[in-house]
Symmetry: C2
Subunit: 153 residues, 2 copies
Amino acid sequence: MKLSTRGRYGLKAMVDLAVNYGGGTMAINALAAQQGISDAYLEQLIAALRKAELVISVRGAQGGYKLSRPPQDINVGDVLRALEGSTAMLDCVGDVRGDCSNMCACSARPLWLKLQNRIDEVLSATTLHDMAEDYKTQLRHLQASSAGTPAKS
Amino acid sequence: MKLSTRGRYGLKAMVDLAVNYGGGTMAINALAAQQGISDAYLEQLIAALRKAELVISVRGAQGGYKLSRPPQDINVGDVLRALEGSTAMLDCVGDVRGDCSNMCACSARPLWLKLQNRIDEVLSATTLHDMAEDYKTQLRHLQASSAGTPAKS
DNA sequence: ATAATCCAGAGTAAAAAGGTTGGAATTTAA
DNA sequence: TTAAATTCCAACCTTTTTACTCTGGATTAT
């Protein structure tokens, strides 16, 4: 019941791209530096997002990545599915249902279905636009609250 | 983003105990057989449940396990926490918050908090009593629908 | 050209998952 | 009293997954 680093790093990179949306491409090292991970690793994650057609890459010098469509048209479920393969907690409740021998006589399945529905509700209701906006105001508040105090060396 | 077999097997065993509630103890091999897993493995899972005081064990011949309290007083969150350690998808939103260096400037944290809340809502709102009742009617329907057809050899 | 960038695949160390093994302790029944 | 049934406990083992790193290109703006 844990989310892997793929999902965490990858989603945050997507939010960074969303914040930057409309302003050209971002290089992988800029994105990676912001999270303190290696370029090579983030590259792998971005590759998955590119294959899912959520980001577009521009090769060559001054190249980089950008979102393939407006942030409000990409939801978190899309992103996590691309990165993790699925948003399902169990195979028996996923999009591609793994078969379970006693699916129709499982005492837990109704619960798992309900849980998965709630999860997918949240994931599909939240877009990169939402997250980017939240993030921007969050940063503004941080700046405002540190404005009165002297800067640290 | 996967639930492990500990959670799956362990919870189903708890539902079995809930169905049996009030009718004495159940031996580990009876519980294990119902799910097609080894006694030894289920024993491990039950040990965690016993330490969390969700089940009571009776040692010796004719011994076994039973719920420590009525099924309506045990919710799924209690069970999963005992089996998996936590119901948190990420350390930074769990009961025992693992620290994350940039928690207050994380673009994803608001989402994770919301998601975790929805999950915990479902888990705490569902009791073993609910699951046992659902399961019993489910079995009744299965029986009813196969009543007209001849039994397989 | 060349420098910056993406692309693809293999390799690897550590952790987690998913068990198994063997035996000690306790209780009941013959 | 002894054998059988049962839980309890600790350690061990194997496989898979995670979380990366490394290497060696291929592509393209300048």
